[in-house]
Amino acid sequence: MTAATEQEIICLGCPNGCHLHCTSKKGHAVDVTGNKCDRGVDYGREELLDPKRVVTAVVKTTSSELPYVPVRTTAPLVKPLIPELLHELYQQHVTPPIRSGNPLIENFRNTGVNVIFTRSIAE
Protein backbone atom coordinates (compact mmCIF):
# COMPACT_ATOMS: atom_id res chain seq x y z
CA MET A 1 0.00 0.00 0.00
CA THR A 2 2.32 2.74 -1.22
CA ALA A 3 0.07 5.10 -3.15
CA ALA A 4 -3.22 6.48 -1.91
CA THR A 5 -5.98 3.87 -2.06
CA GLU A 6 -9.71 4.40 -1.81
CA GLN A 7 -12.24 1.86 -0.70
CA GLU A 8 -15.97 1.68 -0.02
CA ILE A 9 -16.62 -0.24 3.21
CA ILE A 10 -19.90 -1.04 4.93
CA CYS A 11 -19.45 -0.42 8.65
CA LEU A 12 -20.40 -3.35 10.90
CA GLY A 13 -19.96 -1.37 14.13
CA CYS A 14 -23.74 -1.27 14.62
CA PRO A 15 -26.92 -2.07 12.65
CA ASN A 16 -26.82 1.34 10.93
CA GLY A 17 -24.48 -0.14 8.31
CA CYS A 18 -23.01 3.19 7.17
CA HIS A 19 -21.32 3.18 3.78
CA LEU A 20 -17.84 4.44 4.60
CA HIS A 21 -15.58 6.00 2.03
CA CYS A 22 -12.03 5.33 3.21
CA THR A 23 -8.87 6.85 1.75
CA SER A 24 -5.43 5.69 2.87
CA LYS A 25 -2.02 7.10 2.03
CA LYS A 26 1.17 5.09 2.47
CA GLY A 27 -0.46 2.61 4.77
CA HIS A 28 -2.05 5.13 7.11
CA ALA A 29 -5.81 5.55 6.87
CA VAL A 30 -6.26 9.27 6.98
CA ASP A 31 -9.77 9.84 5.87
CA VAL A 32 -13.12 8.18 6.60
CA THR A 33 -16.33 9.83 5.42
CA GLY A 34 -19.93 8.68 5.40
CA ASN A 35 -19.86 7.58 9.05
CA LYS A 36 -22.65 8.62 11.42
CA CYS A 37 -20.54 8.03 14.55
CA ASP A 38 -16.93 7.68 15.73
CA ARG A 39 -17.02 3.92 15.64
CA GLY A 40 -17.11 4.20 11.85
CA VAL A 41 -13.65 5.81 11.85
CA ASP A 42 -12.09 3.00 13.89
CA TYR A 43 -13.89 0.36 11.90
CA GLY A 44 -12.89 1.84 8.55
CA ARG A 45 -9.26 2.22 9.65
CA GLU A 46 -8.99 -1.39 10.84
CA GLU A 47 -10.84 -2.81 7.81
CA LEU A 48 -8.56 -0.94 5.43
CA LEU A 49 -5.20 -1.47 7.15
CA ASP A 50 -5.49 -4.67 9.13
CA PRO A 51 -8.72 -6.61 8.45
CA LYS A 52 -9.30 -9.67 10.63
CA ARG A 53 -11.82 -12.53 10.61
CA VAL A 54 -12.77 -15.39 12.87
CA VAL A 55 -12.08 -18.62 10.95
CA THR A 56 -14.18 -21.76 11.36
CA ALA A 57 -13.49 -25.07 9.63
CA VAL A 58 -13.62 -28.82 10.12
CA VAL A 59 -10.64 -31.15 10.46
CA LYS A 60 -10.38 -34.89 9.81
CA THR A 61 -10.66 -37.34 12.67
CA THR A 62 -9.95 -41.05 13.00
CA SER A 63 -13.44 -41.54 14.47
CA SER A 64 -15.76 -43.71 12.39
CA GLU A 65 -18.85 -42.01 13.81
CA LEU A 66 -17.74 -38.42 13.32
CA PRO A 67 -15.20 -38.24 10.47
CA TYR A 68 -14.82 -34.46 10.87
CA VAL A 69 -14.73 -32.22 13.92
CA PRO A 70 -15.42 -28.46 13.86
CA VAL A 71 -12.80 -25.94 15.01
CA ARG A 72 -12.55 -22.14 15.29
CA THR A 73 -9.99 -19.47 16.01
CA THR A 74 -10.17 -17.97 19.51
CA ALA A 75 -9.93 -14.45 18.06
CA PRO A 76 -10.14 -12.83 14.62
CA LEU A 77 -7.09 -13.64 12.49
CA VAL A 78 -5.46 -11.20 10.06
CA LYS A 79 -6.94 -11.92 6.62
CA PRO A 80 -3.71 -12.63 4.71
CA LEU A 81 -2.94 -15.54 7.07
CA ILE A 82 -6.33 -17.24 6.56
CA PRO A 83 -5.35 -19.37 3.52
CA GLU A 84 -2.23 -20.58 5.38
CA LEU A 85 -4.29 -21.50 8.42
CA LEU A 86 -6.88 -23.35 6.32
CA HIS A 87 -4.10 -25.23 4.54
CA GLU A 88 -2.62 -26.27 7.87
CA LEU A 89 -6.03 -27.34 9.21
CA TYR A 90 -6.70 -29.49 6.13
CA GLN A 91 -3.44 -31.44 6.84
CA GLN A 92 -4.58 -32.32 10.37
CA HIS A 93 -5.79 -35.78 11.37
CA VAL A 94 -6.90 -35.92 14.99
CA THR A 95 -7.78 -38.82 17.24
CA PRO A 96 -10.57 -38.81 19.86
CA PRO A 97 -11.23 -38.29 22.68
CA ILE A 98 -11.68 -34.65 21.75
CA ARG A 99 -12.92 -32.07 24.20
CA SER A 100 -14.65 -28.93 22.97
CA GLY A 101 -12.58 -25.88 23.96
CA ASN A 102 -9.24 -27.73 23.93
CA PRO A 103 -6.57 -26.27 21.63
CA LEU A 104 -5.58 -27.81 18.32
CA ILE A 105 -3.07 -25.08 17.35
CA GLU A 106 -1.59 -22.57 19.79
CA ASN A 107 -0.34 -19.10 18.90
CA PHE A 108 -0.62 -19.53 15.14
CA ARG A 109 2.31 -17.76 13.38
CA ASN A 110 2.91 -15.73 16.56
CA THR A 111 -0.40 -13.90 16.20
CA GLY A 112 -1.56 -14.93 19.67
CA VAL A 113 -4.53 -16.63 17.97
CA ASN A 114 -5.30 -20.24 18.94
CA VAL A 115 -7.46 -22.78 17.16
CA ILE A 116 -9.77 -24.76 19.44
CA PHE A 117 -12.17 -27.67 18.93
CA THR A 118 -15.84 -26.73 19.10
CA ARG A 119 -17.34 -30.19 19.50
CA SER A 120 -16.51 -33.04 21.84
CA ILE A 121 -16.05 -36.60 20.62
CA ALA A 122 -15.80 -39.49 23.08
CA GLU A 123 -13.47 -42.37 22.31
Binding site: I10, T56, V58, Y68, P70, R72, K79, T118, R119
Partner: protein
Protein backbone atom coordinates in the same frame (compact mmCIF):
# COMPACT_ATOMS: atom_id res chain seq x y z
CA UNK B 1 -44.76 -52.77 22.39
CA UNK B 2 -43.14 -50.83 25.21
CA UNK B 3 -45.44 -48.35 26.89
CA UNK B 4 -43.89 -45.45 28.82
CA UNK B 5 -45.60 -42.83 30.99
CA UNK B 6 -44.29 -39.31 31.40
CA UNK B 7 -45.69 -36.07 32.65
CA UNK B 8 -44.30 -34.28 29.58
CA UNK B 9 -42.70 -35.28 26.30
CA UNK B 10 -40.65 -32.94 24.14
CA UNK B 11 -40.37 -33.79 20.44
CA UNK B 12 -37.09 -32.56 18.97
CA UNK B 13 -33.80 -32.12 20.84
CA UNK B 14 -32.48 -28.98 19.18
CA UNK B 15 -32.08 -25.71 21.03
CA UNK B 16 -35.86 -25.36 21.47
CA UNK B 17 -36.50 -28.87 22.74
CA UNK B 18 -33.53 -28.88 25.11
CA UNK B 19 -34.40 -25.48 26.60
CA UNK B 20 -38.06 -26.44 27.10
CA UNK B 21 -37.20 -29.85 28.60
CA UNK B 22 -34.72 -28.24 30.99
CA UNK B 23 -37.32 -25.83 32.31
CA UNK B 24 -39.88 -28.64 32.76
CA UNK B 25 -37.33 -30.76 34.65
CA UNK B 26 -36.46 -27.77 36.84
CA UNK B 27 -40.15 -27.58 37.69
CA UNK B 28 -39.85 -31.10 39.11
CA UNK B 29 -41.67 -33.04 36.41
CA UNK B 30 -40.70 -36.25 34.61
CA UNK B 31 -39.90 -35.37 31.04
CA UNK B 32 -38.70 -37.33 28.01
CA UNK B 33 -36.77 -35.74 25.14
CA UNK B 34 -37.16 -37.54 21.82
CA UNK B 35 -35.13 -36.94 18.65
CA UNK B 36 -34.66 -38.84 15.39
CA UNK B 37 -30.96 -37.89 15.09
CA UNK B 38 -28.12 -39.66 16.94
CA UNK B 39 -27.10 -36.51 18.88
CA UNK B 40 -28.55 -33.70 20.92
CA UNK B 41 -28.39 -30.24 19.36
CA UNK B 42 -30.36 -30.61 16.14
CA UNK B 43 -29.31 -28.38 13.25
CA UNK B 44 -26.85 -26.44 15.46
CA UNK B 45 -24.30 -29.23 15.04
CA UNK B 46 -23.79 -28.38 11.36
CA UNK B 47 -23.72 -24.61 11.94
CA UNK B 48 -19.99 -24.49 12.69
CA UNK B 49 -19.70 -20.71 12.09
CA UNK B 50 -19.60 -18.21 14.94
CA UNK B 51 -22.28 -15.71 15.94
CA UNK B 52 -24.35 -17.79 18.37
CA UNK B 53 -24.91 -17.21 22.06
CA UNK B 54 -24.29 -13.45 22.39
CA UNK B 55 -27.61 -12.95 24.21
CA UNK B 56 -28.05 -16.31 25.92
CA UNK B 57 -24.50 -17.17 27.04
CA UNK B 58 -23.12 -13.59 26.79
CA UNK B 59 -20.29 -14.75 24.53
CA UNK B 60 -19.82 -15.52 20.89
CA UNK B 61 -19.97 -19.24 20.16
CA UNK B 62 -20.36 -21.59 17.22
CA UNK B 63 -23.47 -23.76 16.82
CA UNK B 64 -21.93 -26.96 18.24
CA UNK B 65 -20.59 -25.06 21.28
CA UNK B 66 -24.02 -23.53 21.97
CA UNK B 67 -25.65 -26.96 21.64
CA UNK B 68 -23.10 -28.72 23.82
CA UNK B 69 -23.55 -26.24 26.65
CA UNK B 70 -27.30 -26.83 26.65
CA UNK B 71 -26.84 -30.59 26.23
CA UNK B 72 -24.59 -30.80 29.29
CA UNK B 73 -27.35 -29.22 31.37
CA UNK B 74 -29.95 -31.58 29.89
CA UNK B 75 -27.85 -34.61 30.82
CA UNK B 76 -27.08 -33.22 34.29
CA UNK B 77 -30.82 -32.64 34.89
CA UNK B 78 -31.46 -36.36 34.48
CA UNK B 79 -33.89 -35.93 31.60
CA UNK B 80 -34.70 -39.22 29.82
CA UNK B 81 -33.23 -38.89 26.31
CA UNK B 82 -34.38 -41.01 23.39
CA UNK B 83 -32.06 -40.55 20.40
CA UNK B 84 -32.36 -42.25 16.99
CA UNK B 85 -36.06 -42.29 17.81
CA UNK B 86 -38.58 -41.20 15.22
CA UNK B 87 -42.06 -40.17 16.29
CA UNK B 88 -44.45 -41.60 13.72
CA UNK B 89 -47.84 -40.82 15.14
CA UNK B 90 -49.36 -38.40 17.60
CA UNK B 91 -52.92 -38.37 18.89
CA UNK B 92 -54.88 -36.80 21.71
CA UNK B 93 -57.83 -38.43 23.42
CA UNK B 94 -59.50 -37.60 26.76
CA UNK B 95 -56.61 -35.34 27.73
CA UNK B 96 -53.99 -38.08 27.24
CA UNK B 97 -51.44 -37.46 24.53
CA UNK B 98 -50.09 -40.57 22.85
CA UNK B 99 -46.99 -40.72 20.70
CA UNK B 100 -45.98 -43.77 18.70
CA UNK B 101 -42.24 -43.77 18.12
CA UNK B 102 -39.63 -46.28 17.07
CA UNK B 103 -35.91 -46.88 17.25
CA UNK B 104 -33.67 -49.75 16.25
CA UNK B 105 -32.96 -50.92 19.80
CA UNK B 106 -36.35 -50.85 21.50
CA UNK B 107 -38.59 -51.22 18.47
CA UNK B 108 -41.95 -49.49 18.68
CA UNK B 109 -42.55 -47.43 21.80
CA UNK B 110 -45.80 -45.85 22.97
CA UNK B 111 -45.36 -42.71 25.05
CA UNK B 112 -48.29 -41.42 27.11
CA UNK B 113 -48.14 -37.97 28.66
CA UNK B 114 -50.24 -35.14 30.02
CA UNK B 115 -48.31 -32.50 28.09
CA UNK B 116 -46.40 -32.47 24.80
CA UNK B 117 -44.02 -29.82 23.51
CA UNK B 118 -43.63 -29.55 19.74
CA UNK B 119 -40.02 -28.55 19.03
CA UNK B 120 -39.35 -30.13 15.65
CA UNK B 121 -37.80 -27.06 14.04
CA UNK B 122 -38.20 -26.25 10.37
CA UNK B 123 -37.23 -27.52 6.95
CA UNK B 124 -35.91 -25.81 3.85
CA UNK B 125 -37.91 -24.71 0.87
CA UNK B 126 -36.62 -26.45 -2.23
CA UNK B 127 -36.67 -26.24 -6.01
CA UNK B 128 -40.28 -27.40 -6.15
CA UNK B 129 -41.33 -24.49 -3.93
CA UNK B 130 -39.98 -21.85 -6.29
CA UNK B 131 -40.58 -23.60 -9.60
CA UNK B 132 -37.43 -23.05 -11.68
CA UNK B 133 -37.83 -24.33 -15.25
CA UNK B 134 -35.21 -26.53 -16.88
CA UNK B 135 -33.89 -30.07 -16.68
CA UNK B 136 -33.53 -32.14 -13.52
CA UNK B 137 -29.81 -32.91 -13.24
CA UNK B 138 -27.79 -33.82 -10.14
CA UNK B 139 -26.02 -30.95 -8.39
CA UNK B 140 -28.98 -29.02 -6.98
CA UNK B 141 -28.91 -28.83 -3.17
CA UNK B 142 -30.62 -26.84 -0.48
CA UNK B 143 -28.05 -24.70 1.36
CA UNK B 144 -28.60 -26.60 4.62
CA UNK B 145 -27.98 -29.95 2.95
CA UNK B 146 -24.74 -28.63 1.45
CA UNK B 147 -23.83 -27.36 4.91
CA UNK B 148 -24.32 -30.81 6.38
CA UNK B 149 -22.33 -32.46 3.59
CA UNK B 150 -19.34 -30.15 4.11
CA UNK B 151 -19.37 -29.65 7.88
CA UNK B 152 -20.46 -33.06 9.15
CA UNK B 153 -19.74 -35.59 6.40
CA UNK B 154 -16.73 -33.82 4.87
CA UNK B 155 -17.89 -33.82 1.23
CA UNK B 156 -17.61 -30.75 -1.00
CA UNK B 157 -20.73 -30.82 -3.18
CA UNK B 158 -19.29 -28.98 -6.20
CA UNK B 159 -16.59 -26.77 -7.67
CA UNK B 160 -18.42 -23.97 -9.47
CA UNK B 161 -21.48 -22.86 -7.56
CA UNK B 162 -24.42 -20.48 -8.08
CA UNK B 163 -26.51 -19.73 -4.99
CA UNK B 164 -30.19 -18.85 -5.36
CA UNK B 165 -31.53 -16.64 -2.56
CA UNK B 166 -29.56 -14.36 -0.25
CA UNK B 167 -30.79 -15.80 3.05
CA UNK B 168 -28.21 -16.15 5.80
CA UNK B 169 -27.65 -19.87 5.30
CA UNK B 170 -26.86 -19.28 1.63
CA UNK B 171 -24.44 -16.47 2.48
CA UNK B 172 -22.72 -18.53 5.18
CA UNK B 173 -22.35 -21.32 2.63
CA UNK B 174 -20.83 -18.94 0.07
CA UNK B 175 -17.96 -18.34 2.52
CA UNK B 176 -17.77 -21.97 3.55
CA UNK B 177 -17.53 -23.14 -0.08
CA UNK B 178 -14.87 -20.51 -0.82
CA UNK B 179 -12.82 -21.70 2.15
CA UNK B 180 -12.93 -25.33 0.99
CA UNK B 181 -11.74 -24.41 -2.49
CA UNK B 182 -14.97 -24.11 -4.48
CA UNK B 183 -15.69 -21.04 -6.62
CA UNK B 184 -18.96 -19.25 -5.88
CA UNK B 185 -19.89 -17.42 -9.07
CA UNK B 186 -23.05 -15.57 -8.07
CA UNK B 187 -25.76 -15.11 -5.48
CA UNK B 188 -29.12 -14.42 -7.13
CA UNK B 189 -31.85 -12.66 -5.12
CA UNK B 190 -35.37 -12.05 -6.43
CA UNK B 191 -36.00 -9.15 -4.01
CA UNK B 192 -34.48 -5.67 -4.43
CA UNK B 193 -32.76 -6.00 -1.02
CA UNK B 194 -30.67 -8.80 0.54
CA UNK B 195 -32.53 -11.33 2.71
CA UNK B 196 -29.53 -11.88 4.98
CA UNK B 197 -27.95 -9.56 7.54
CA UNK B 198 -25.34 -6.97 6.51
CA UNK B 199 -22.52 -8.68 8.40
CA UNK B 200 -22.95 -11.76 6.24
CA UNK B 201 -23.15 -9.74 3.02
CA UNK B 202 -19.79 -8.17 3.91
CA UNK B 203 -17.95 -11.13 5.39
CA UNK B 204 -19.33 -13.89 3.18
CA UNK B 205 -19.67 -12.13 -0.20
CA UNK B 206 -17.54 -8.96 -0.34
CA UNK B 207 -14.55 -10.75 1.23
CA UNK B 208 -14.54 -13.19 -1.69
CA UNK B 209 -15.66 -10.78 -4.45
CA UNK B 210 -18.83 -12.79 -5.01
CA UNK B 211 -21.38 -10.80 -7.04
CA UNK B 212 -24.87 -10.38 -5.57
CA UNK B 213 -27.56 -9.93 -8.23
CA UNK B 214 -30.56 -8.21 -6.61
CA UNK B 215 -33.94 -8.22 -8.44
CA UNK B 216 -32.71 -11.18 -10.51
CA UNK B 217 -33.99 -14.71 -10.90
CA UNK B 218 -32.55 -17.98 -12.16
CA UNK B 219 -34.88 -18.57 -15.09
CA UNK B 220 -33.43 -21.88 -16.29
CA UNK B 221 -31.23 -24.73 -15.11
CA UNK B 222 -29.35 -26.72 -17.79
CA UNK B 223 -27.62 -30.07 -17.69
CA UNK B 224 -28.30 -33.71 -18.48
CA UNK B 225 -26.69 -35.77 -15.71
CA UNK B 226 -25.10 -32.92 -13.78
CA UNK B 227 -25.85 -29.19 -13.68
CA UNK B 228 -24.01 -27.48 -16.54
CA UNK B 229 -25.24 -23.89 -16.46
CA UNK B 230 -27.93 -21.54 -15.22
CA UNK B 231 -29.58 -18.60 -16.97
CA UNK B 232 -29.98 -15.47 -14.86
CA UNK B 233 -32.60 -12.87 -15.78
CA UNK B 234 -33.11 -9.38 -14.32
CA UNK B 235 -36.55 -8.29 -13.15
CA UNK B 236 -37.73 -4.95 -14.46
CA UNK B 237 -40.96 -3.59 -13.05
CA UNK B 238 -41.53 -6.99 -11.47
CA UNK B 239 -41.33 -9.00 -14.70
CA UNK B 240 -38.38 -10.90 -16.18
CA UNK B 241 -36.55 -8.98 -18.93
CA UNK B 242 -35.39 -11.96 -20.97
CA UNK B 243 -33.46 -9.88 -23.51
CA UNK B 244 -31.00 -9.05 -20.71
CA UNK B 245 -30.53 -12.65 -19.56
CA UNK B 246 -27.04 -14.06 -19.16
CA UNK B 247 -25.69 -17.54 -18.67
CA UNK B 248 -23.20 -18.82 -16.09
CA UNK B 249 -21.55 -22.22 -16.44
CA UNK B 250 -21.55 -24.08 -13.13
CA UNK B 251 -21.80 -27.60 -11.75
CA UNK B 252 -23.78 -26.87 -8.60
CA UNK B 253 -26.81 -24.82 -7.58
CA UNK B 254 -27.60 -24.11 -3.92
CA UNK B 255 -31.03 -22.95 -2.80
CA UNK B 256 -31.39 -20.62 0.16
CA UNK B 257 -35.00 -19.63 -0.35
CA UNK B 258 -36.61 -19.76 3.05
CA UNK B 259 -37.66 -22.14 5.78
CA UNK B 260 -41.00 -23.74 6.64
CA UNK B 261 -41.98 -24.89 10.16
CA UNK B 262 -42.05 -28.69 10.24
CA UNK B 263 -45.61 -29.54 11.31
CA UNK B 264 -46.58 -32.85 9.72
CA UNK B 265 -46.77 -34.41 13.19
CA UNK B 266 -48.67 -31.46 14.67
CA UNK B 267 -51.34 -31.85 11.99
CA UNK B 268 -51.83 -35.52 12.97
CA UNK B 269 -52.90 -34.38 16.43
CA UNK B 270 -55.34 -31.90 14.89
CA UNK B 271 -53.32 -28.81 15.80
CA UNK B 272 -54.48 -25.70 13.92
CA UNK B 273 -51.75 -24.19 11.74
CA UNK B 274 -51.61 -20.43 11.06
CA UNK B 275 -51.29 -19.29 7.45
CA UNK B 276 -49.08 -16.37 8.45
CA UNK B 277 -46.34 -18.28 10.29
CA UNK B 278 -46.76 -21.79 8.91
CA UNK B 279 -46.63 -22.90 12.56
CA UNK B 280 -49.32 -23.74 15.13
CA UNK B 281 -51.64 -21.02 16.34
CA UNK B 282 -50.79 -20.53 20.00
CA UNK B 283 -52.40 -18.77 22.92
CA UNK B 284 -50.76 -16.60 25.57
CA UNK B 285 -49.18 -19.77 27.09
CA UNK B 286 -47.76 -20.96 23.75
CA UNK B 287 -50.39 -23.70 23.89
CA UNK B 288 -51.73 -24.86 20.52
CA UNK B 289 -55.37 -25.49 19.66
CA UNK B 290 -54.94 -28.98 21.19
CA UNK B 291 -55.15 -28.67 24.98
CA UNK B 292 -51.86 -29.59 26.69
CA UNK B 293 -49.89 -29.44 23.42
CA UNK B 294 -47.37 -26.58 23.35
CA UNK B 295 -45.00 -25.30 20.63
CA UNK B 296 -41.75 -23.34 20.64
CA UNK B 297 -38.77 -22.53 18.45
CA UNK B 298 -38.74 -22.82 14.67
CA UNK B 299 -41.70 -25.21 14.58
CA UNK B 300 -43.78 -22.27 15.85
CA UNK B 301 -42.27 -19.57 13.63
CA UNK B 302 -38.87 -19.26 11.96
CA UNK B 303 -36.43 -17.29 14.14
CA UNK B 304 -33.23 -15.47 13.12
CA UNK B 305 -31.22 -16.21 16.26
CA UNK B 306 -30.96 -19.34 18.36
CA UNK B 307 -30.68 -17.16 21.46
CA UNK B 308 -34.29 -16.11 21.01
CA UNK B 309 -35.32 -19.71 20.32
CA UNK B 310 -33.84 -20.71 23.68
CA UNK B 311 -35.54 -17.75 25.33
CA UNK B 312 -38.98 -18.53 23.92
CA UNK B 313 -38.60 -22.24 24.64
CA UNK B 314 -37.64 -21.68 28.26
CA UNK B 315 -40.79 -19.59 28.63
CA UNK B 316 -42.74 -22.38 26.95
CA UNK B 317 -41.31 -24.90 29.43
CA UNK B 318 -42.49 -22.61 32.20
CA UNK B 319 -46.04 -22.64 30.83
CA UNK B 320 -45.92 -26.45 30.66
CA UNK B 321 -44.96 -26.49 34.35
CA UNK B 322 -47.90 -24.19 35.12
CA UNK B 323 -50.17 -26.50 33.13
CA UNK B 324 -48.97 -29.63 34.93
CA UNK B 325 -49.56 -27.88 38.25
CA UNK B 326 -53.09 -26.99 37.10
CA UNK B 327 -52.16 -23.34 37.36
CA UNK B 328 -53.25 -22.37 33.87
CA UNK B 329 -56.68 -21.11 34.65
CA UNK B 330 -59.70 -20.41 32.58
CA UNK B 331 -58.86 -16.72 32.34
CA UNK B 332 -60.27 -15.17 29.21
CA UNK B 333 -57.82 -14.39 26.41
CA UNK B 334 -58.09 -11.76 23.69
CA UNK B 335 -57.04 -12.17 20.07
CA UNK B 336 -53.80 -10.65 18.75
CA UNK B 337 -53.71 -9.72 15.08
CA UNK B 338 -51.10 -8.38 12.68
CA UNK B 339 -51.95 -4.87 11.49
CA UNK B 340 -50.46 -2.74 8.72
CA UNK B 341 -46.93 -3.68 7.56
CA UNK B 342 -46.72 -6.66 9.90
CA UNK B 343 -46.52 -10.16 8.45
CA UNK B 344 -47.32 -11.97 11.70
CA UNK B 345 -47.36 -11.69 15.47
CA UNK B 346 -46.76 -14.57 17.90
CA UNK B 347 -48.48 -15.46 20.24
CA UNK B 348 -51.91 -15.15 18.70
CA UNK B 349 -53.66 -14.43 22.03
CA UNK B 350 -53.02 -12.45 25.21
CA UNK B 351 -54.26 -12.29 28.80
CA UNK B 352 -55.18 -8.77 30.00
CA UNK B 353 -53.10 -7.55 32.92
CA UNK B 354 -50.24 -9.98 32.31
CA UNK B 355 -46.78 -9.33 30.81
CA UNK B 356 -46.57 -10.76 27.30
CA UNK B 357 -43.55 -11.29 25.02
CA UNK B 358 -44.39 -10.68 21.37
CA UNK B 359 -42.35 -11.67 18.32
CA UNK B 360 -43.28 -10.10 15.03
CA UNK B 361 -41.99 -9.85 11.51
CA UNK B 362 -42.15 -6.72 9.40
CA UNK B 363 -43.04 -6.53 5.73
CA UNK B 364 -41.29 -3.18 5.23
CA UNK B 365 -37.71 -1.86 5.35
CA UNK B 366 -37.40 1.35 7.40
CA UNK B 367 -34.57 3.06 9.31
CA UNK B 368 -36.78 4.20 12.13
CA UNK B 369 -40.19 2.59 12.53
CA UNK B 370 -42.96 2.92 15.08
CA UNK B 371 -44.85 0.02 16.58
CA UNK B 372 -48.49 0.82 17.23
CA UNK B 373 -50.42 -1.34 19.67
CA UNK B 374 -54.12 -0.72 19.12
CA UNK B 375 -57.21 -1.85 20.93
CA UNK B 376 -60.82 -0.84 20.38
CA UNK B 377 -59.72 1.65 17.74
CA UNK B 378 -57.28 3.51 20.01
CA UNK B 379 -53.47 3.36 20.14
CA UNK B 380 -52.71 2.16 23.69
CA UNK B 381 -48.93 1.99 23.30
CA UNK B 382 -46.26 3.24 20.89
CA UNK B 383 -42.70 2.06 20.56
CA UNK B 384 -39.84 3.17 18.30
CA UNK B 385 -37.94 0.44 16.50
CA UNK B 386 -34.61 1.07 14.72
CA UNK B 387 -33.60 -0.64 11.49
CA UNK B 388 -36.85 -2.37 10.66
CA UNK B 389 -36.44 -5.07 8.03
CA UNK B 390 -38.12 -8.38 7.17
CA UNK B 391 -34.86 -10.28 7.82
CA UNK B 392 -34.76 -9.23 11.47
CA UNK B 393 -37.51 -10.26 13.85
CA UNK B 394 -38.81 -7.62 16.26
CA UNK B 395 -39.14 -8.72 19.89
CA UNK B 396 -40.87 -6.71 22.56
CA UNK B 397 -42.47 -7.16 25.93
CA UNK B 398 -45.82 -5.59 26.76
CA UNK B 399 -46.28 -4.85 30.43
CA UNK B 400 -49.48 -6.16 31.96
CA UNK B 401 -50.18 -2.67 33.30
CA UNK B 402 -50.33 -1.44 29.68
CA UNK B 403 -52.89 -4.11 28.88
CA UNK B 404 -55.71 -3.58 31.39
CA UNK B 405 -58.86 -5.67 31.23
CA UNK B 406 -61.69 -4.40 29.04
CA UNK B 407 -65.41 -4.66 29.71
CA UNK B 408 -66.73 -8.11 28.88
CA UNK B 409 -64.42 -10.37 26.88
CA UNK B 410 -60.88 -9.07 26.28
CA UNK B 411 -60.89 -6.86 23.19
CA UNK B 412 -58.70 -7.87 20.23
CA UNK B 413 -55.23 -6.34 20.10
CA UNK B 414 -53.81 -5.16 16.79
CA UNK B 415 -50.09 -4.61 16.31
CA UNK B 416 -49.03 -2.45 13.36
CA UNK B 417 -45.85 -0.79 12.08
CA UNK B 418 -45.47 2.59 10.47
Amino acid sequence: MRELEYEAIVIGAGAAGMAAALRIAEGGFRVALVDREDHLGGILMQCIHNGFGLHWFKQELTGPEFAERLAEKVVAAGIDIFLNTTVMDFSVSNGVKTLIACNSEQGVIQFNARAVVLAMGCRERNRGNIGIPGTRPAGIFTAGLAQRLINVDGYVPGKRVVIIGSGDIGLIMARRLSWVGAKVLAVVEILPHPSGITRNIVQCLHDFNIPLYLSHIVSRIEGKDRVEAVTITPLEGGTPEHSKSFRIECDTVLLSVGLIPENELSKKAGVTIGHDTGGPKVDAHLMTSAEGVFACGNVLHVHDLVDFVADESTRCGGYVVDYLRDQIGEEKQGAVTAGANVRYVVPHRYVPGRDTHFSLRSIIVKDRGTLLIKRQGAVIKKKTVQHVKPAEMIYFKMRGSDLPATEGDPAPLEIALE
